[in-house]
Symmetry: C2
Subunit: 174 residues, 2 copies
């Protein structure tokens, strides 16, 4: 659903090929959005079909032509409209909590193992995000830049909450 807009957002900053997009997404928004390569190409085709992006074909020899996509005025309008539209209701799907909910039947060791491996995950996420924030230099002045950094802080806050919850839950096990 919003891969469409994640892509439009990238295109707003700079024209991209599908191949570039995959890399840009991995390098910038991977901490809250992941996209399969084939899904990116399909979504690009859809954007073009809907007039939200347009393609410039750049010939190459030896490899497929580059299809450089740029956002159209219609695309820009669609992106801005989406950004200001109401948040749709969430339909939660958290497989980890499904495990927590039922693992009690298996006894304390199984529960402890589950929580411990989740802790390893959360630790990894936290240090990855902390490193990312750290490598950004100085004070961001520009609003857009500040908000982009805020998405990293979002992940950090939630990882910390996760760790706190894990600690109290593990303690309550025995």
């Amino acid at each position: 659903m919003s891969l469409k807009f994640a892509i439009l957002g990238v295109l707003e900053l700079k024209p991209h090929t599908g191949y570039d997009l995959k890399k840009t997404i991995e390098a910038s928004v991977a901490h809250f959005w992941s996209a399969d390569q084939s899904q990116i190409y399909r979504t690009l085709a859809l954007l073009v079909a809907d007039g939200l992006a347009e393609v410039e074909v750049i010939n190459q020899d030896g490899r497929p032509d580059r299809r450089l996509h740029r956002i159209t005025p219609t695309g820009l309008a669609a992106l801005h409209e989406w950004l200001t539209s109401p948040l749709p209701p969430e339909t939660p799907h958290d497989a980890f909590l499904v495990r927590v909910f039922y693992v009690g039947e298996l006894g304390i060791p199984a529960a402890a193992a589950l929580l411990q491996s989740r802790r390893a995950e959360a630790d990894a996420v936290l240090s990855r995000l902390t490193a990312l924030v750290g490598q950004e230099s100085g004070d961001p002045v520009d609003l857009a830049h500040r908000l982009r950094r805020a998405t990293l802080r979002y992940g950090i806050r939630h990882a910390e909450a996760e760790l706190a919850w894990l600690t109290e839950t593990v303690e309550a096990l025995s």
Copy 2:
């Protein structure tokens, strides 16, 4: 993917029809898993086809027969195996953060509106979960029960983290 196991978990406690399942899911795990009715029926059919559940048909007149599903030993084994299997890597898809990431282009008012409506959501979630925890009586002794309650606390912790992040992010806007 794990709807299969969410359902097996319910069936482990008690046999259910598809209709019952929908209600049980809404009443117990809705805060971290939601499932469409048709999806439940389809998944039940799949469980039966795989030998993880079996059906007892109970005749009724005036309305469709009840198809009571109970977990099989194979199903129980599959559930327990899943509960102790390694956590698969997460592929994040957070549409809200996509908005935060790009809304900066539209200026402070648009950003503030986005964050404010998210705050309303988080407030609602927090009070709903707090009410749920409150209505549970006394100290849970049994491990399974404690872990089920922990899933509520998980939601609460994360909602609180969300609110804290919203506050600091809104403050940093201007």
